[in-house]
Amino acid sequence: MSTVIATEPSGRWLGRFDAMPPLAWLALQAAALWPHWRWAAARVMDGSDDPLGIAALLALLLVVAKLEPQLRGAPKPGWLVLSLFASAGATLAVFAAPPLIGALLAALAMASGLRSFMPSGQAVLPMAGLAVLSLPVVSSLQFYAGFPLRVVTAQLSTWLLQALGFAAERSGTAMQVEGRLVIVDAPCSGVQMVWMAYFCACAVAAFSGLRDRQLLARLPWVGVIVLGGNVLRNSVLVALEAQRDHVSEAVHQGVGLVVLTLVCAGVVWVIRGGHDAHI
């Protein structure tokens, strides 16, 4: 293999660019998209969103660190072009779209940029998922998806409790169980559980090297498990509230954590293909 040595200054600069490690390219791209990260940081700092995204970001960085020895010097043009378009879209979005849309495009641009340096056949979806989850999305999810989730949860809980012999009725997102009013308000919507479950799915997939197609096929089941888990959690707590004067905070936390453990176990089981899944 022959090496071409540039003699012109411009050629020497180009050579240095070519010699830059992939992580430096990614760092440059991240720096170019800094307004989005600044917005995300501000939203976490001012308390308008939970700082859960930090966990997803750390998981993503761990995945990148693990992949770093395999990253190629020559990026794949297709993914690079996609990354370029996404970056341009994110930049345009600063002027024309809500900040969350811009940040989502920026996260996808970073994921595409990373994919362009990865060897063929490597999955990108878990990385893209972790990048999106690292953004402050919980409040927006709560705003847009919270109410439908609350209605569905309340309705399914009502049916479940009726099947178990309780006198239950739903009105909007409130439930009348055994003559007591219990509301399924925003903190009960299950949006946090949605985030936890998808984080669990993406992290397990990223570290296990699950292919994109497999992950894509299994993700809908994650949604079903989350919904089922939230209905179960809600039903247990509503039944307790209907039977006692006051249910302590510890009981609420305990039931919530047990159900979350079951949901995540189910997610791991599904993501790992069912047959060989065990914790």
């Binding site: 001012d46 879209g89 345009l92 809500p98 219990v182 570290f207 249910v247 979350l260 453990t261 995540c264």
Partner: protein
């Protein structure tokens, strides 16, 4: 060979490029025409119901602009002259508009307001309410510092101060006069400090006026507004037994003709309850008599006030069968201490019934229920049953007083039975006018007695119900007062003092006399008559020589009392102008509540403008003519929060409904990370 439907299949290299370009163009177009929704609540109407104040994340805005309230009271004889000074100071970095809902005495005639801004003094003018609001909004938009004082109810006012710049200290001073009516020879001055959180019924009728909202601190959270109060008493005879059942006070000059009372300094401002001051005059006298005020010679009006001490109560020999209906408020605002006080009161009231009496109890909040379908005899067993039911109740829910009243009015009653309806409530509703109207129209065959329970009750409702129902108002602030008040009611019912009361002047041409019809005297309150008198030009320069004759019936027979006017002229009693007008406005407002449709609006407005009085149709406005705020449109409105009245729980604003929240975010995240790590660990081991 057939041509493909799409000339470029998406999976060919050129097709993929074209597909990407098309998607990019589509995305770009979407982004360019995207019109993001933005939250803008600048024009949002203010909350119509009380709410808990929320701390803002914007540190540049001062959310507690009212720094102090100072009250200076001068009581001379039976007239209290009160000056309230509210200090607003903006310690933030942004200009603000402050809005503050505060209470006043039910009898207050607010007649002056001024605003001190630095070294400038602005005197407020009285204007028609709508006009004043328009002027205020215009001044606010122009960036001028301005203040507007509006009346929502005779005892609920709203102060708006626009364009308070950072560092500004705006002192708003308002003045009112009030007539102190003694009761059983005891005088009481009350200064309410907080408007209790009112329940605004969705079915509220138009005639009740605007809903009453306002921001509140949580129960037990102390106010950041300093509160100081000083009362100076000047009496014709020595004053004695000066005491405050509500506050710790320092008294200087007790037993003399000049006494000064001030609040003891406390760490926490004592502005979460009514300030109540009671005192007596030496010899248990009351300031009875006739007071004449001669207006200016150039056609000014002359006023009089007569206060006649009632005869001693004597129990009637003939006792009619009596039926008592107790109507008890068990809404959220009564939860806890107020309801405990109400229970003690009811045990005393019901426990003191005679065996020949009958009674029933209605408990109401969002709905209402009766103890039994019809009244039951006051036997020991029935009384025990009623007390057991009352003991079992807890306060929650809304305060639908109007349906409760309608149900009471519909209860059948035998002709020979004398019925007393006894309401027990804190009065935290905003349907006063509708309640008064219902009582006048439907309970005119009964005597209505209203017990206000709590540290800061809605006295307008309690006193108004008693007035409309030809009864008496009682305020019980503590359980230990319950027995005395129950005994007082028993005495009043058994021993009406004076009925068929009439008052007439001889030798004096009087007109515009208030009240037009004198009510029966039930308790130990004096008979009061306000009015105007015409001068006799032939007697110019001479003192008025006439007499007032009051007649009526007592248990002993006919009653007659005469008061001579000679030597009763007092040129310092100019407050009679305002007190007469205030009385007149109250009478017109009562009439308007009956007739509806704002029938008395022109008359009340005219009285307000003529006598410079704050009314439901007139407001005080002061505008600084300098433009001080360059960005008035960016000025946030800050609702000054009031403390929750003492003893009132957070249930008054909203009961906590159980919900099923998810576990804490960090705990949940720890669980998930644990599962992920365990999964990967087990995978590596395998």
């Amino acid at each position: 060979m057939t041509r493909p439907l799409l000339p470029l299949h998406p999976l060919t290299r050129t097709g993929r490029v074209m597909w990407c370009i098309a998607l990019s163009l589509f995305s770009a177009a979407l982004m360019l025409f995207w019109s993001p929704a933005r939250a803008d609540d600048s024009e949002a109407p203010k909350a119509e119901s009380p709410y808990f104040a929320v701390n803002s994340s914007d540190p540049g805005t001062d959310r507690l602009p009212l720094k102090s309230t100072h009250v200076d009271v001068h009581i001379s004889g039976v007239i209290a002259d009160v000056t309230v000074t509210q200090h607003y100071r903006n310690e933030g970095q942004r200009a603000i508009e402050a809005r503050y809902l505060f209470p006043g005495s039910t009898q207050a005639a607010v007649h002056a307001m001024s605003v001190r801004l630095g070294d400038r003094l602005l005197t407020a003018r009285i204007k028609e309410k709508q006009q004043a609001r328009i002027e205020y909004e215009a001044a606010k938009k122009e960036g001028k510092t301005s203040a507007l004082l509006e009346q929502h109810r005779p005892n609920v006012f709203e102060m708006n101060v626009a364009n308070i710049l950072p560092g500004d200290d705006v002192a708003v001073e308002l003045r009112y006069t009030e007539l102190l009516t003694p009761h059983d020879a005891q005088y009481g001055f009350v200064f309410p400090t907080v408007v209790g959180p009112r329940y605004n019924s969705p079915a509220r009728a138009e005639g009740n006026g605007a809903a009453i909202g306002g921001a509140y601190l949580k129960s037990g959270e102390p106010s950041q507004t300093a509160f100081t109060l000083r009362v100076t008493l000047d009496t014709p005879v020595a004053v004695k037994e000066i005491a405050s059942p509500s506050h710790e006070v320092m008294v200087d000059g007790a037993g003399t003709w000049h006494a000064v009372v001030s609040l003891k300094p406390t760490e926490v401002p004592a502005n979460n309850r009514d300030f109540i001051l009671n005192y007596r005059l030496a010899g248990d006298r009351i300031e009875s008599g006739l007071m004449l005020f001669r207006g200016p010679d150039d056609g000014g009006e002359n006023f009089f006030l007569a206060m006649i001490e009632p005869p001693k109560a004597i129990a009637t020999k003939q006792i009619n069968p009596r039926d008592y209906i107790f109507v008890v408020d068990i809404s959220g605002s009564m939860h806890g201490y107020p309801l405990d006080t109400a229970k003690v009161l009811l045990r005393n009231l019901i426990g003191g019934l005679r065996a020949s009496d009958t009674f029933n109890v209605m408990l109401f909040s969002g709905s209402n229920r009766m103890l039994s379908p019809t009244s039951v005899p006051a036997t020991r067993a029935n009384i025990e049953q009623a007390i057991k039911t009352i003991d079992a109740m807890g306060g929650s829910g809304s305060t639908e007083i109007v349906p409760a009243l309608k149900r009471v009015a519909a209860l059948p009653k035998a002709d020979d039975v004398s019925r007393s309806v006894i309401f027990v409530t804190d009065g935290y509703v905003s349907v006063e006018a509708e309640v008064f109207q219902l009582i006048r129209q439907n309970l005119n065959q009964s005597n209505v007695f209203a017990f206000g329970i709590g540290s800061s009750v809605n006295r307008h409702l309690i006193e108004g119900m008693a007035r409309a129902g030809q009864g008496e108002a009682f305020i019980v602030t503590k359980p230990e007062q319950a027995a005395d008040q129950a005994e007082r009611l028993r005495k009043i019912i058994e021993s009406p003092v004076l009925t068929q009361v009439k008052a007439r002047f001889e030798g004096l041409d009087v007109y515009d006399v208030e009240p037009a019809q004198l009510p029966d005297v039930l308790g130990g309150r004096p008979v009061m008559v306000f009015g105007k008198w015409r001068r006799d030009d032939s007697q110019a320069g001479l003192p008025v020589n006439a007499k007032l004759i009051v007649e009526g019936r007592t248990a002993d027979g006919q009653y007659r009392n005469e008061l001579a006017t000679a030597g009763r002229e007092d040129q310092t009693s100019s407050a009679l102008r305002h007190l007469w007008a205030r009385q007149r406005i109250a009478a017109l407002s009562d009439q308007e509540a009956l007739e509806g449709n704002g029938a008395q609006k022109p008359a009340i407005t005219q009285l307000g403008l003529t006598y410079s009085l704050l009314t439901q149709y007139t407001s005080f406005i002061a505008v600084d003519q300098r433009v001080r705020n360059p960005n008035p449109s960016l000025t946030p409105v800050v609702d000054q929060p009031s403390p929750m009245p003492e003893g009132v729980s957070n249930f008054a604003i909203g009961a906590e409904v159980p919900s099923t929240p998810e576990p804490g975010a960090w705990l949940a995240l720890l669980v998930v990370i644990g599962i992920v790590v365990a999964t990967l660990w087990s995978r590596r081991r395998n």
